[in-house]
């Protein structure tokens, strides 16, 4: 009995511990993106495929994040320090607790038929970063199991 209680307690603690690194990492990435957005150059001249968060299925968040992550290094910035921020964002979003979609099983993700990065609409770099930040804000929200109809 005691072993079961200890095991359950450890599971709860582990779940909570996993939430904190995700929040910290997302906050760090968001701060870096804010700096990058302030230092963008040729905003209307560079265009990127960008998922729009308001039109994104929940089970496609992970693939959309990967789309943003892959393009972030191509943003045109004015400062060498901002290039370092770009590399930081590119690296941090590789972490498993960011990429893994907690709310969707692999079957649900496959059923969602998420778009590839190139299928998304082209937007300028400023809108690209705005959409990127919005997706990270959505990723920061506590996630629950959902109704399958929403897929």
């Amino acid at each position: 009995m005691k072993a079961c209680v200890c095991f359950l307690l450890m599971c709860v603690l582990a779940a909570q511990a996993e939430e904190s690194p995700k929040i910290l990492t997302l906050s760090k990435v968001m701060n870096e993106l804010k700096k990058i957005q302030q230092g963008l150059t040729n905003s209307n001249k560079t265009w990127f495929n960008s998922p729009a968060t308001n039109d994104l299925k929940d089970c496609c968040v992970a693939s959309a994040l990967e789309c943003f992550r892959s393009k972030v290094l191509h943003l045109s910035v004015s400062d060498e320090k901002l290039k370092k921020s770009q590399r930081s964002v590119h690296h941090e979003l590789r972490k498993s607790f960011i990429v893994d979609s907690v709310s969707c099983t692999p079957q649900e993700t496959q059923k969602a038929q998420c778009k590839s990065c190139e299928a998304y609409t082209m937007v300028n770099s400023r809108t690209f970063v705005d959409n990127f930040k919005t997706l990270l804000q959505k990723r920061s929200m506590p996630v629950k199991r959902r109704d399958l109809k929403s897929l």
């Binding site: 039109d55 929940d58 919005t134 920061s140 929200m141 109704d147 109809k149 897929l151």
Partner: protein, 362 residues
């Protein structure tokens, strides 16, 4: 030309119709439901709505005024729904579509105010404020404001914690309030919640413009005033009874001031009538004492002699004084002087003492 005129007319008509469509405004309330209102109430409209990738539903609950629907409460099933597009449609009673509109509600959230505010003073002279927020996670930030007595409110920096500490509070009354919103890391809401119910710590100022001001007196209830008056009366009665029956208490609280009265005035009259104001004669003082009050009085010096101690035996404990006759003669002269300088009645102890037994030389 006629075709152009007709095109322009109908084009303007369509534009006019579109601009006269009711404007639908939606706001997410406490992440519990979506409150949608519309600008026109001349017809009884019905609404259908839903977030993208969720079902479009008939409005389950309306708010009515004067018999027509004026607002709709749509369900809000998941906390991330506000990142999706909300599609709403308004219909007339006959089922005809009036307008369709889409809304981006990520920032249009208004939370309920925080609750259960409490203040605790800790041992190290710090005030700690605690409260609960509606959805307790890292996406809700709170802002505290406080004021002392009736001064202006002071705002603090918002944070995700549900505690606030104020070091070294002064001896005043503090009033605290808290409000909440979604943080920027989770898509900051445009609106703060309403301020919470306030919580108070400390005592209000007891002088100047508080207790004795007409406003403060007016604010005291009649019952409180009557109770205070009755209590004061009872206390006065008890004290009066104690003073009457307890002589000891009366003497302590009201010390008796000696009153000379008529006898003293008669007594003093004899000083002036019989002794012509001469206080010494009136008091029947001895002559020596009387001389002591004269300005040219000189006191005789009292000679002091030293006694040498020498031992006549081998033992150290014994000691014999020097010639006692010197002592007696000196003592007799001392006796004469001492008896002249002391008040009669106090020289008896010296007269009875044996001069040969002086043990402690100076």
């Amino acid at each position: 030309m006629k075709l152009l005129f007709l095109t322009l007319f109908f084009g303007n008509f369509c534009t006019f119709s579109a601009s006269s469509d009711p404007k639908i405004n939606c706001l997410i309330i406490n992440l519990d439901y979506v409150n949608c209102t519309w600008s026109e109430h001349q017809y009884n409209y019905s609404l259908k709505g839903g977030f993208s990738y969720f079902d479009i539903e008939d409005c389950p609950e309306y708010e009515t005024a004067n018999g027509v629907n004026v607002a709709c409460m749509l369900p809000y099933k998941e906390r991330t729904q506000r990142f999706n597009t909300l599609k709403t449609s308004l219909y007339r009673d006959d089922g005809s579509l009036v307008t369709e509109q889409e809304h981006m509600l990520k920032e249009y959230v208004k939370l309920n105010p925080p609750t259960n505010l409490s203040v605790v003073e800790k041992k190290d002279a710090e005030l700690w404020l605690y409260w609960n927020v509606t959805k307790n996670d890292n996406c809700i930030e709170s802002e505290v404001r406080y004021r002392t007595d009736q001064n202006n409110w002071k705002d603090t920096t918002p944070g995700v914690r549900t505690t606030y500490s104020l070091p070294f509070p002064s001896n005043k009354q503090y009033k605290f309030q808290v409000r909440a919103r979604i943080t920027s890391s989770c898509g900051q809401s445009k609106f703060w919640s309403e301020w919470s119910e306030s919580v108070t710590w400390g005592t209000e100022k007891a002088f100047n413009d508080t207790v004795f001001s007409p406003e403060s007196l007016g604010s005291m209830s009649v019952t409180s005033l009557v109770l205070y008056a009755v209590g004061a009366t009872i206390l006065l009665v008890i004290l009066s009874c104690l003073l009457v029956h307890s002589e000891r208490l009366r003497i302590i609280l009201i010390p008796v001031v000696p009153n000379a009265g008529r006898n003293v005035s008669n007594y003093l009259a004899a000083l002036f009538d019989n002794y012509d104001g001469n206080v010494e004669k009136w008091l029947s003082m001895p002559k020596d004492l009387e001389n002591g009050f004269k300005p040219n009085f000189t006191e005789r010096a009292c000679p002091v002699r030293e006694y040498k101690i020498f031992s006549q035996s081998s033992s150290d404990s014994e000691s014999i004084l020097s010639n006692p006759t010197d002592v007696s003669s000196d003592y007799q002269s001392m006796h004469r002087y001492s008896s002249a300088s002391t008040i009669p009645g106090s020289a008896e102890p010296l007269q009875t003492q044996n001069p040969s037994q002086v043990d402690n030389p100076v």
